[in-house]
Amino acid sequence: MGEVILTMKEIDKSFPGVHALDHVSFEVRKGEVHALMGENGAGKSTLMKVLTGIYKKDSGTISYEGKEVEFHNTREAQDAGIVIVHQELNMLRHLTVAQNIFIGREFKKGFAIDDKKMNEEAKKLFDKLHIDIDPTETMSNLTVGKQQMCEIAKAISHKAKVIIFDEPSAALTETEIEELFKIIKDLRKQELGIVYISHRMDEIKVITDRVTVMRDGTYVGTLITEKCTKDDIINMMVGRVIYEDPKQHSMVAPGAPVVLKVEHLNAGKMVQDVSFELHRGEILGFSGLMGAGRTETARAIFGADPIESGDIYVNGKKVIINSPEDAVKCGIGYLSEDRKRYGIVVQKTVAENSTMAALEKYMKGLFINKKEEKKVTEEYVKSLATKTPSVEQLVVNLSGGNQQKVVIAKWLVRDCEILIFDEPTRGIDVGAKNEIYKLMNKLAEEGKSIIMISSEMTEILRMSDRIVVMCEGKKTGEVSIEEASQEAIMNMATREIG
């Protein structure tokens, strides 16, 4: 490890309602690979966005190569030599490799673009990195791994001195990861500073020199990778005090029947051989890190995305679900994590949204019985304590928590017995959060069965009767609430692959 090239000190950043970074410090040395770890929402990405000028910091200092700097956009950061290789690649798929690498700074011959020179320069770059890619190849013909290598080459061509890898291995195969590591080791030798963001413990152990852990927007600590164990890191990641009381024991009546059984469900890379059971009156928590495949599993069960194989049983009967229409007929309702896009129709009223899934019940011949519609909606507005001036209010004018209640009403009007809550309290303020929790408990008591996907550990431990943990598209564990602990769940959520 060489001298320090980048130091971030006491970085503070707030968004309305969230203290995203609370005086966080972080440094990178030349020739080191420095892992940045933490749960979802710990502040890793925000910190990197502050560094590269996407967000403006509220306070704190950034010094780079001995000078204090402040970048106003990624372009400035890039020109100075700090580059992010994103998880989602920003490539123009129809251009060639060389054209992508030199985009925005093409070599020219008069007015025309000099493709020949660009190809030569790209070749030189690849040779230097020992990468075997043809610069004239069209980007879309490359594998994701190769595309990522192009992205790295592009970073190097910007004379990068610090490269930030944001979950680079998420989409790669084993061999591609090995190649990536070879390149990273190469870059380390060339005295570059490397920030490596990943959830994969085994990779952290293999490739990094130091680990910095963040939690809830704060800096927890930095460890030398060689001298620490996986448990040390996990303890730092989860070692928070849980303010709300976790559930002590399951509220499900013993011998409650199984209402939903999923067996060997496969749907793309993100849902591999997932099996589980849901009992009547149960809240089944789905825990895991971002990209664990929980939402994808829910969408597959709900028929929103196609299923490749696997069986679904509702109340002991095998069902075929090809579309949300089929799922709703089986009594399954899905409350998306993205309400505005997938939950509500913003230009419609509370009443129109509430009866969306069960309009048949409110028809009088050919016409909608608006009186009945209004009546039933008013009942649910009352029982769910939705704050709205009238049921004729457009839902766009409601707060997040109340919009969520409208979506809940939609499924209750439809008599759904199985409710899938995907991040039910995302973007909802604390007071409304507690109301949603109370409501979910009440629904479970009344015999509804709930799957709750949540990335918040406190929420999982507070609400669930039983917890399923997923990691990279696979179910990696299942614990009862009595046995559950933060450490145990995080351990399963970051399980080594392979």
Partner: protein
């Protein structure tokens, strides 16, 4: 201003629609002042003739635009309907009543074709309707061997269908058109079809994830449009009797202009049949006024073009403000 907007009567009628009505009246006054002999029944009846067929086109396309789609084939499909049914009448001796039925059928078939491709194959509505515009023109030309078709005159025995437009000086068409507009308004606001069409125009994915077969309802909007286009053809021949193959596209813009001027959002999800009706009358009056002032038809093309852009831009600005 805000006070006026909050007045319950104004709210019920719609502020924008009241403004549009004022525009319509002002235009009439202006043309009457400037144009020679513009005031009076003959000009009004002539403008109404234009408003009927255009009105049916506009009602139809309102359903499609409500889903967030667009249909550029309505004008040529109307001509195709009129040509095929008229040719059947003249050359195959099909009775008038049945010919009128054929006209509606042709419109409905094109609507189904467009709707199926848009809803089930996910081909963009712009492309589908551009293509079927050409198909409609081509089919009509092939069917009629590129001859224009003349429907019977009112004096002949078969000319009874012209009473659909007017009997003496009484504008029958006006009554029929308003009746259809009311039916359309009921469909859009009081039935399941209308509810789902407007909802999916606003947020298709949310409606799908409510367990609703959105493809079926999206296709239905195009079918309703097609049927209304077929009816538009009837009112076109009832007013003008002669149809030429290869034309019809000029009415697309006018029908869409009437619709968006009336407050139907190009982005989908918001539609007003009342607004469409007033919008259509404005366009029809405009075309009559331009002719009365001895300008050529070209000026009308320019003005309707500008109207579409201004109306859509106003909608874009309104939505941006809401966000």
């Amino acid at each position: 201003m805000e006070k006026i907007k909050q007045n319950p009567i104004v709210k019920k009628l719609g502020f924008n629609r009241i403004i549009l009505c004022c525009v319509l009246l002002l235009m009439y006054l202006l043309f009457s002042l400037v144009g020679k002999n513009f005031a009076g029944l003959p000009r009004i009846l002539s403008a109404l003739n234009y408003a009927y067929f255009l009105g049916f086109l506009s009602l139809g396309v309102t359903f499609v635009i409500a889903t967030g789609g667009i249909d550029f084939s309505i004008g040529p499909v109307m001509f195709c309907s009129a040509l095929i049914s008229g040719y059947c009448l003249n050359s195959y001796g099909v009775p008038v009543a049945l010919s009128l039925g054929i006209s509606i059928l042709v419109g409905a078939l094109f609507g189904t074709f467009n709707g199926y491709l848009v809803a089930y194959w996910s081909v963009p509505p712009f492309i589908v309707s551009m293509a079927s515009m050409n198909i409609a023109k081509g089919v009509a030309s092939v069917f009629t061997k590129t001859q224009s078709v003349s429907w019977p005159q009112s004096t002949s025995e078969q000319g009874w269908f012209r009473n659909l437009v007017k009997i003496g000086n009484f504008p029958v068409g006006f009554v029929i058109f308003l009746a259809f507009a009311i039916v359309c308004s009921v469909i859009l606001n009081k039935t399941k079809a209308g509810r789902y069409i407007l909802s999916l125009g606003s947020n298709k994915e949310a409606v799908r994830l409510s367990g609703i077969n959105i493809k079926k309802w999206e296709m239905l909007a195009y079918i309703i449009c097609g049927i209304l286009v077929g009816i538009a053809a009837i009112f076109f021949v009832a007013a003008y009797t002669t149809v030429q193959p290869g034309y019809g596209d000029q009415y697309n813009n006018e029908a869409i202009a009437g619709c968006v001027m009336g407050g139907t959002s190009m982005a989908g999800g918001l539609a007003s049949i009342g607004g469409t009706v007033i919008g259509v009358f404005i366009i029809a009056l405009l075309q009559e006024g331009i002719l009365a002032l001895h300008f050529t038809k070209d000026y009308q093309l320019i003005i309707t073009g500008i109207i579409v852009i201004v109306a859509v831009y106003a909608d874009v600005v309104a939505r941006r403000r809401k966000n």
